[in-house]
């Protein structure tokens, strides 16, 4: 290690992982190995904690012993202070993994006469480093020397020499410095440390404090240049991992159910894509949380893990409310598929929320995340701030292939389509639930504003919440507009009655037809009998005629017989004539 540092190596500089969550991502691998890094910031910005975590993580996670030179706090004080973060310095010191050296400087005790140097400090440091084979060193904060010693000229020369000494020892060092008014540190330490400078900041905006970190410079390395928020909690420091610089995340074409069957159908019969972001927006009381909960329910039923961030209701409240619509979330909580993370938005700053969300996600490793609702975050930040936060969150989640559902409250007095913190352009799918006010009642209409990469339905459906869960019902489109709720029911009834009436009408017509047929048939009958009688009449005439002829013939022959006359033709005809 030591060999590396005499001259800047032509290849990329080697880095030492700090083990501080998030910092290694921002610095793309940690602090420069074998070089001093300056951490500066105001009082209470977390410098000491930062550096002690560097030492502790090194000792615990990377097998690199470390020396902590405290110029400010006594070793016992320091141990007590960091015990609240779960760092047992006593034990580590006992195991010879770390060494804490308190350097006491009291001006009242010291008289300066003539030339001197700080060889004593060097010897102490050297001894401390060698005694445990330290790879990491922290000097917190070396500026205290300036308050104890008067001869600034000597001090400056010695500090310069100190940094040379640290480099020659090949230790990765952190030097802390109090922030000055014009310069980064009061004593201009940044002049001496040229490799890496990290600035810590503690800002209070709207009574909410946010800690931020910025890498001012990092020679020979690419690094994130933004201000990154960081959080100090019972597990130490966590810095928000970087916003990914590129849009080259993995995408999945696997789809997962939204938990509402009818909604899945509207979404191209599939549901949401895994790893996509979904926004459910709507006015107050439209059932956004119910949609979110049913998505959570579906996720858990698939035996996947879901993390529910509740910014409005307490977990118990959500569980109770969802039970009323037939969802047993408690069971999922018990089975460890579902975890709630409830916090008031005003608990801390927006960035802190983001860090906290990150941490919770890292810990629980969910497949789906729900934020309900994001609108509440507005109370602690401006719209643009919330938007940037969400961009970062969505980014982070998509890299991890975590499906996320946000709910957002839209206000009626704003143009509906344009609110939602402007996140609508970021999300992959956007469900909007809208109040449809009609006929003296309010009903919910759900439609899909967008769903990227899906053949989704463009229909407005009525969104109903029943005690068996959520469902979507077809709405009625009439000349009067969209009908929902009781109007829809009424219409349905009307339609049913209409059908009955219609049926009856049909049967009446049928009967009439039958009757008509009967009339016609009888008419046909009478005509036929008329025809028959006419025919009979005609026949009668014929018969009579024939009979007449016959009778006449008979009579003639009889007469002839009677006369016994010659049967001669002329006579016969004569007779005939006379008879006529």
């Amino acid at each position: 290690m030591a060999k590396l540092n005499k001259q800047p190596s032509p290849v990329a500089i080697s880095k030492t992982l700090t083990g501080i969550a998030g910092l290694d991502e921002i610095t793309l691998g940690g602090l420069p190995s074998g070089r001093p890094t300056l951490i500066c910031g105001e009082a209470g910005s977390g410098k000491t904690l930062f550096s002690i975590e560097f030492i502790v993580r090194g000792a615990l996670d990377y097998g690199e012993p470390g020396v902590f030179m405290a110029f400010e706090e006594k070793a016992d004080e320091l141990k007590t202070n960091v015990a609240s973060l779960g760092f047992d310095l006593e034990k580590l010191e006992h195991e010879k993994k770390i060494r804490i050296d308190y350097i006491h400087i009291d001006r009242a005790e010291i008289e300066e006469t003539g030339e001197y140097d700080l060889e004593g400090l060097f010897i102490r440091l050297n001894y401390a480093i060698d005694s445990i084979g330290a790879k990491r060193v922290v000097l917190d904060t070396i500026e205290n020397l300036f308050s104890g010693l008067k001869n600034e000229g000597i001090l400056r020369a010695e500090i310069r020499r100190l940094f040379q000494f640290l480099k020659s020892k090949g230790v990765t060092a952190i030097i802390t410095g109090e922030r000055g008014e014009k310069s980064l540190t009061r004593q201009g330490l940044e002049e001496y440390v040229s490799d890496c400078v990290i600035l810590l900041d503690h800002r209070i905006i709207n009574q909410i404090s946010t800690r931020r970190l910025r890498i001012v410079k990092y020679r020979g390395s690419v690094h994130g240049t933004n201000e990154y928020p960081f959080l100090i909690d019972d597990e130490g420091i966590s810095v928000l991992p970087i916003t990914s610089l590129e849009l080259n995340k993995e995408v999945s074409s696997e789809s997962i159910s939204s938990g509402v069957k009818a909604l899945d159908k509207m979404l191209g019969n599939a549901g949401f894509y895994r790893g996509s972001s979904i926004l459910a927006s709507g006015t107050a009381g439209t059932g956004k949380t119910s949609i979110a909960a049913s998505f959570a329910n579906a996720t858990c039923l698939r035996k996947e893990k879901c993390l529910f961030f509740a910014f409005e209701e307490s977990p118990k409240q959500i569980i109770r409310n969802m039970r009323s619509i037939g969802m047993d979330l408690q069971k999922h909580v018990d089975d460890k598929y579902l975890q709630f993370y409830a916090s008031r938005p005003t608990l801390f700053g927006l960035e802190m929320h983001l860090v906290a969300i990150h941490k919770a996600i890292h810990k629980f490793k969910p497949d789906a995340v729900i934020l309900d609702p994001i609108t509440n975050l507005i109370t602690i930040g401006s719209v643009s701030e919330v938007k940037t936060m969400l961009v970062r969150l969505i980014d982070f989640l998509q890299i991890q292939q975590i499906t996320v559902m946000f709910t957002a409250l839209t206000l009626n007095n704003v143009v509906n389509e344009q609110t939602d913190e402007g996140v609508s352009s970021l999300v992959d799918a956007w469900l909007q639930i809208r109040d449809i006010e009609n006929n003296g009642e309010r009903n919910r209409g759900l439609y899909i504003m967008k769903s990227r990469g899906m053949k989704h339905s463009n229909q407005i459906r009525e969104f109903v919440i029943t005690d068996k869960g959520l469902d979507l019902v077809d709405v009625f489109l009439t000349e009067d507009g969209v009908l929902t709720g009781s109007a829809r029911e009424a219409r349905l009834l009307l339609q049913q009655t209409g059908e009955i009436i219609h049926e009856q009408a049909v049967s009446r017509k049928d009967r009439e037809l039958i009757r008509k047929r009967k009339v016609l048939e009888s008419k046909i009958d009478s005509l036929r009998s008329e025809y028959e009688s006419a025919e009979e009449e005609l026949n009668k005439v014929y018969v009579e005629e024939a009979l007449k002829k016959q009778i006449m013939g008979d009579t003639i022959s009889k007469i002839t017989d009677l006369r016994r006359a010659d049967i001669s033709a002329p006579v016969k005809s004569k007779t005939k004539k006379t008879n006529k």
């Binding site: 005790e109 006469t113 001197y116």
Partner: protein, 95 residues
């Protein structure tokens, strides 16, 4: 005035500063504390672990352990007046 002065001079090797400091110290002691003092010279290069006990930063440092209060005088002790003040031989002048 039969106080016993226990003095420790911390040095790091035989540098010119430490040599000067030791010479100056001996001179001052002979002049002002004849027979009432003992001087222990500690070379931190040989015994670095001792640096922590007396909170030594600067070299050379003269530590007056006894009589109380503990005082440290850093530098080559070239300013006799300051050394005397530091050893509480002269009263501290408020300036």
């Amino acid at each position: 005035m039969a106080k016993l002065y226990e003095l420790r001079l911390y040095v790091a090797g035989k540098t010119s500063k430490s040599v000067v400091a030791l010479e100056n110290l001996k001179k001052i002691c002979e002049e002002h504390l004849k027979g009432q003092y003992s001087i222990e010279v500690i070379d931190l290069l040989e015994r670095p672990q001792l640096a922590e006990g007396d909170q030594i930063l600067a070299i050379p440092t003269l530590v007056k352990k006894v009589p109380e209060p503990v005082r440290k005088i850093i530098g080559d002790l070239s300013n006799v007046e300051k050394v005397l003040v530091g050893l509480d031989i002269r009263p501290r002048t408020t300036n």
